[in-house]
Subunit: 170 residues, 2 copies
Amino acid sequence: MPLLNEVLTANQAYAATFDKGDLALPPARAFAILTCMDARLDPAKYAGLSEGDAHVIRNAGGRASDDAIRSLVISYKLLGTKEWFVIHHTDCGMEFFTNEVITGLLANSLETAALGEDGFYDVGTGPGSDAAAEIDWLTISDQAQAVVDDVAHQGTSAGARPHPGPRLDL
Amino acid sequence: MPLLNEVLTANQAYAATFDKGDLALPPARAFAILTCMDARLDPAKYAGLSEGDAHVIRNAGGRASDDAIRSLVISYKLLGTKEWFVIHHTDCGMEFFTNEVITGLLANSLETAALGEDGFYDVGTGPGSDAAAEIDWLTISDQAQAVVDDVAHQGTSAGARPHPGPRLDL
């Protein structure tokens, strides 16, 4: 079955028994979680969320990027969240490369790289692209410091109370 | 119970029976979902995901922001996703304001606004901040066009195949 059909079929099954259509727009438990896009993380499960409870913002690394701050300010100013959690995890892909590495990989080819003992290496054929050279990829060199940095960055941005959540051990 | 303790308690309960610690870093089903931070959305449930299946990127509106593109390029180039879904929803908070509205609300006060029939209005006392005046808040004026725009923006950015997912009806 094509992936699109798998997703649509799963969605139809969920919708068929969905009975929470009257939930309010503002999060009922008035908080937000900023966490990583990592496929192994299910924030609803790991933090005990039901539909309607909390905003969940996810990106590569769970970083307090400008876009995460945009989302958190909306979460606070318009939708009333009072606390924000930054939740990172061990074995994060963002620890396994640097700006220089991904810039080089993308310059080399636009095919998916492989991950070996010494980090990511390219297996594709070119041409690549140098369009990524100016991007800050927000990689992580120190797990604990990354959470501290992301909480501090939020703290200067809006009125809700940010704090680190549990670090998930994968 | 303080919110932090609620989250920690829920996390401990989940961790106590967690038996998927050997999942691989790359998503097993090789796809990513870009969707909204809205508290009423549970992507794992609405798309049928188990831990390890797919990257999930979430921000205010599920928009293809620069940070979402950063995450998607990492998802494709380093972790091998082949398809990306943009999944928006009805009754999205991003339809209820404009850049001008939120800039004005933040300039007025840093307390949470209220939502009335005519949109958000401020109930707080100042001072506010004009630090947000230069931000593009990526609001949505047309639900369908927003998905088209976000898929198109992804399409110019990397090699995976982006397409719209089901629009969720909240």
